[in-house]
Each structure stands twice: as structure tokens, then as C-alpha cells.
Symmetry: C2
Subunit: 394 residues, 2 copies
């Protein structure tokens, strides 16, 4: 067994330690739900490193973490293929290993701000359901080439090993368009390593799909099968969830009109202030360094982050950017977030800070959450606002 | 000579008829500048057809329309290539002809709304510096394959035949990233036909680059040379124009800091109300059908257009969409605009209509023009607003 294989086996053994909270997850995470386990990174930690440590990376689960027997594990590649494949981990480790730096972000990141306007069902995320890592594994296009894609294929379906306890689904299944899946430069990966270590069980051990530039919901953990099809997944997570709707659509109406709304794939441009936290106390007139993250979908580079110290009335500061992707990455292949900071020389308090990012396509963020409110609380990319209060100096 | 060649020769002869206004342009166009000739489509005409007629298509020129001798014309493909090419029109006509439906839009479309906030130098466009056509010709990647791309190439430079009378430039030269240019699915075209007819002189006869999903400024007309390079074009239209800057940057400051801002390539999501025009009179309480266009860069599909009848306070109407691209186009290959309409059953006047579009990545439009004002008046994709006044019924 290779080094890589050895490390993987070590990792699955650790997974057995824990019943509820997956092994290797940090107590630093803010738990939003115990079963299934959902937890986010305290936002203040995020801008500390371009690569989010695995132990601090947010966890989004729809079921329980499956225990996987690494000897018996086989990834099935089937559907409209010329040769159905049953791929062992050893098979995968023999294929070329490639590494991609990519941000994974939940469609419901910052749902809490929408819930404050009107209550929303769903995991109550603040701005920490996002993280950035380097992922290593086999590019999906290689397996598709080995399997042979039939002429009429348009979508690639992913199914996880986890058992879901929801009325309409027993497994987690979604799909992405073939044009993304089969593009060598689309960088869709079957990842077995995260930040140079074997995937932790909570993050999808032994194998996780990473779909750079797309919503986290398509980066299926514990992948057990890949199915080529002429249509999208008809599973609930593709059809009845992860869809963006107008504000006047409610849960009841949605049951009738879900077909009219496309599944979310790429993400909009977004950013958040991670430091200071909301309600932070700061001596008026003294310097403060404001930090946060910014990200856009589809590999579009963040070109600018603006900071306002007057609640968005004026945008007087441009942030210094630290990119998660090397600056010579090809156009539209900037899959990683950008960290940013603004050193405000003299901040008058009380005030409201606001940030907005711009991507390479010239998209920016809406001013208010209420203008984009939707009943599922998805894709909240409104300008992020933080109140800073006055205090005595240190 | 092929049919295609014959038609092309006919077309260049027509070009000789006119000195200032290029031949074959409609008097329906609203002329914004005589020399160089710049004219836009009256917005009300735009939603009448998914394919904008060539004679109604907006014209953006930086110099005079060149007279081209079709026998002597050669397109040079050089720079960091293995074999330099000199390609005649006959050579091009022998290569596979492909057709792409794509919207071309000026970066300065709707500049006038920005100029009303604070004056801006540049062509004074309303919302008609946009059009959609089918373009036929040879995909650029084929020529790049024939020339042989050297290892260190990162950018593809385009130069037009037109003479520019500006201090910093005598020809029009810009560039796009190789990742776009060399991608067969990026659909970059060397087009010799528009809407099934030879290109009109004003639209780039004999050959125009079409870069679908990118700003119009990269779709170089009267192309004379393609140069492969390890860096971007250093021409003024790449480096000193067509860049998006924060509101606090003025023309003087920009001369120092232009290096900090990337050249615009993809366009943000945008939409406009084309009917009714601003100030339209309408009997209160009677039905009105509102029409317009919507478009996003990078091939991202328009998923939704919202209409507000109260100036953007609420978004009560979803538009019916007519797509310019077939609904089974691959993901992120929707290069054409989407026309939309909303039949408002009973419109109370006076009122302010507002529209906003959403693209497949969940991006939408900023609420106000002043929040995105920039000194060049570029990428105005604010929600578009139109006042409707009361009148006696018909
Ligand atoms: Mo998610
Ligand atoms: Mo333009």
C-alpha cells in the first residue's frame, strides 16, 4: 500500500472514535445542528489564513457520516457510458494526482441575516459557512474519458454514501452540467486529500467531489456513484432545494412552481467583514484594521473590495487583497477566495462598517438583504454590515 | 470565387458610397458622434426581435471605417507562434464555418445615467449600445492550432485596420486571455457574416473578432493582425481605457494608478426597460405591457427578470423570458441576451417602473447608479428606471 493509502486507512480508523461529532473536528466550530451535524467556523478565524485548516473548516451534512471500509469501497461510474467502471481507492491512487485550490461555500451562508427579516427554515448560518483549501485527487474528466461519455449525455449525477432522513430522499444526490464536469480546465476533482492530508471523515472520506466555482451543495462528500445522464438529477436536493426564488414565493407556492427555477450552480460575488465582529467596541479616532473574505463563483477573480465607514453611503477605502490563487492563474480559474484588509487610520465610533466586493465581470453586491430575501434563505450576498461602538481607549 | 466571396465583394463596394456615415446603416440609429461615427439603436426597437437587424445594430468606432481591398487583404497571425500565418479571405472561407449567437454590448452602455450625476467624458449612450446577432466565420482556436501556440503564451492581441486619431494610439489594439481565445467552447469567432449576410463595413468588413460573453471592446472590427504574447496588449484601449474604478478615482488620479485596475473582459448582469420610454403617458388603472432586454457576461444565462411598479421598493412581477440562445445550450454558453415582457394588468400612474435581472450565478443589479458611478462611465448595470405619467385614456 502506498503512503497515501496508509494515511487514508489511519484516517478512517479515527472516524470510529465518535458517534455524533465527526472525528477531527475542532471545538472551535460553532455547532448549528447536532443531527445531522452542521457547524461553521467563527468568522473571526477565517481571514487568518488563506488555507482554512481542516479542523476549522465548516461542516455541512444532510445525514450521518458513513463508516467506509476502504478495502471494499468502490466508486461506480455508470449511466450513459460505454464502459461502466467500478473504481477502488487503489485504482484512484494510481491515476495522476492533481491539486486544486478552491473555496467551498454553502448556499445558505449568512442565512441568519435573512431570517432576521422574516423567519426561514434551514441551518442558521452566520458568515462562517465558507472555507478555502487545496484539494488533491483525480480530475473527474479522466474518469469520464475512461468510462466513455455517450452522445446524449448532458448532466453528471453524484450520489453520496450518507443516509438521509428526509421524506423525499434517502441519499444525497445532485448533478452538475457535463460542460463543467468534462472540462479539464473546469478542475472538477475527486479529492482524497485536503490541505495535504487525507480527507477527514466529516469532509468526505474517502472521496469527495470538489466542483470549483460552484455552490458547495454540488461538492458531494462520501461519493459512491457517478451517473451520466441526459437530464439533471431528479433528487430533492437538485429540484426542491438550492433554488433561488423571488421574495413573493413561499414554501407552499414553491411546491407548485419549483420547475420554473433552475438549480443553483455558480455562486454570486460576495464578501464579509470578519473582524471586527458586530458590536465591537473601539475608541473613537484611533486606528482599526478591518479584515474579511471575498469570493465569486465561476472562477471569476475578485478585482476590488470597497469598505465604507458610514454604512454604505460612501465607499472611501479600497482593501489590500491577498489572493488564494496565484496571480498568473488563467482567466476565470480563480477558484479560491481573496482575503482583504483595510487599515483605517482613524475610525470615528459609533459607526457602521460595510463591505462590498467586485469580481472580474464587474458584478458587485446588493445594498440590502431585504431586497434579495427568499424563503429558503439562499445566496445572501448583500453588502455585509457591522456596527462598531465607542469605548474608552485601552 | 464562392458565393460567400462574391457577397463579400458586393459589400465592400457599397462601402465606398459614403464618406462619413458608413454604408448600410439605418437612419433609425441615434447618432451620438459623427467622427468617429458612433450611433445607438433607439431602445424601443430592441425588444422587437431577438436578432437585431444589421441596419439597426449600434455602431461603436474609434476611427474611420477602412476601405479594404479584398484581394490583397491578409490576416496576420504572429507573435509567439511556431508558424506565422498570412491568411487570405479565400483561406478563411475554406476553413469550417461555424455560427454563434452572441450579444455585443458597449462597456459604456447607459453612460448617460452616470453623466447626470456628474459629467463624464465619452460617447453619450442611453441604453441602445447593445445588440444581438448570429455571427458566422472561423473559430479562432482553429487558426491558433494552425499557427502553433508557444508554451509561454498567455494573451492574444487583436489589432484593427482603422486609423485612430488619439494621442496615445494610431490603431485599435486590445487583447483577451489565451484561456478564452484557445477554448473551442469559448466560441471566439473570426466572423465574416452577421445575421446570414456579409458583414457591413460599419460592423467590421471583411472580418471581425467576436468574443462572446466579453465586453464589446474586445470584438475588434476590421481585424488585421492577431499576435500571441506572454503579456496583455499595452495599447491604450487595454491599459488606459475600459477599466472599472472606484468612485473616488478621477481622470488625473487614474494616470498614476491605472496599473492597479484590470481590463474589463466579461460583463456584469444587466437589463433595461425598452418600452415604455421614460415619461410615457398612460391612463391610470389600465393594462400596460413592459418590455426590455437582459444580459450577463461569461455566457451566464438570465434566470429571472423582476419588475417593480413602485420604484424598486417591491418586486411584484416576474417577466416572461424569450431567450436568444436555445434552451439546451451548454451551461455557461448562453452568449445571447434574453428579451422579456411583463403584462401589468392595471398600472396606476404616475409611477416609476424598475427592472432587475438575475443570472445563473445569482448575481443581480445594484439599486442605484450613484453607488457605482465611475469617472469613465463604464458598466452601468444599475436597476433601470422609467417614469410613467398619467394621461387621459385613449
Ligand atoms: Mo449548502
Ligand atoms: Mo465600447
Amino acid at each position: 500500500m502506498t503512503d497515501r493509502g496508509m494515511r487514508a486507512v489511519g484516517s478512517v480508523c479515527n472516524a470510529m472514535d465518535s458517534a455524533q461529532q465527526p472525528a477531527g473536528t475542532s471545538t472551535a466550530l460553532i455547532v448549528r445542528n447536532e443531527t445531522p451535524f452542521n457547524a461553521e467556523t467563527p468568522a473571526m478565524l477565517l481571514p487568518r489564513a488563506v488555507l482554512t485548516p481542516s479542523s476549522q473548516f465548516f461542516i455541512r451534512s444532510h445525514g450521518e457520516v458513513p463508516n467506509v471500509n476502504v478495502q471494499q469501497y468502490r466508486l461506480k461510474v455508470g449511466g450513459l457510458v460505454k464502459n461502466e467502471l467500478l473504481v477502488s481507492l487503489a485504482d484512484l491512487y494510481r491515476l495522476p494526482c492533481e491539486t486544486v485550490s478552491a473555496t467551498v461555500v454553502c448556499a445558505g451562508n449568512r442565512r441568519n441575516e435573512m431570517s432576521r427579516i422574516s423567519p426561514i427554515k434551514g441551518v442558521g448560518w452566520d458568515s462562517g459557512a465558507i472555507g478555502n483549501a487545496v484539494w488533491s485527487g483525480v480530475k473527474l474528466y479522466r474518469l469520464l474519458e475512461l468510462a466513455g461519455v455517450q452522445q446524449n449525455v448532458r448532466h453528471v449525477l453524484f450520489e453520496g454514501l450518507d443516509h438521509i432522513h428526509e421524506q423525499q430522499a434517502s441519499t444525497y444526490q445532485v448533478s452538475i452540467p457535463l460542460s463543467k464536469a468534462a472540462d479539464p480546465n473546469g478542475d472538477v476533482l475527486l479529492a482524497y486529500e485536503m490541505n495535504g492530508e487525507p480527507l477527514a471523515p466529516a469532509h468526505g472520506f474517502p472521496l469527495r467531489v470538489i466542483v470549483p466555482g460552484f455552490v458547495g451543495a454540488r461538492s458531494v462528500k462520501w461519493i459512491q456513484s457517478i451517473t451520466l445522464s441526459d437530464c439533471e438529477s431528479d433528487g430533492m436536493f437538485q429540484q426542491h432545494d438550492y433554488k433561488l426564488t423571488p421574495g413573493f414565493i413561499d414554501a407552499e407556492t414553491f411546491k407548485r412552481v419549483w420547475r420554473e427555477y433552475p438549480a443553483i450552480q455558480e455562486m454570486p460575488v460576495q464578501s464579509a467583514i470578519c473582524f471586527p465582529p458586530n458590536g465591537y467596541k473601539h475608541a473613537s479616532g484611533t486606528p482599526l484594521t478591518v479584515r474579511g473574505y471575498a469570493h465569486s463563483g465561476g472562477g471569476k477573480r475578485i478585482t476590488r473590495v470597497d469598505l465604507s465607514v458610514d454604512g454604505g453611503n460612501s465607499w472611501s477605502h479600497s482593501a489590500i487583497l491577498t489572493r488564494g490563487t496565484s496571480s498568473d492563474a488563467p482567466y476565470a480559474h480563480d477558484w479560491s477566495w481573496t482575503l482583504w484588509e483595510v487599515a483605517v487610520p482613524s475610525l470615528s465610533t459609533p459607526c457602521q462598517l460595510a463591505c462590498r466586493a467586485w469580481d472580474a465581470a464587474g458584478n458587485s453586491q446588493p445594498a440590502t438583504v431585504d431586497s434579495i430575501w427568499n424563503f429558503r434563505g439562499l445566496l445572501n450576498n448583500a453588502q455585509h454590515r457591522v456596527r462598531v461602538l465607542p469605548s474608552a481607549s485601552l
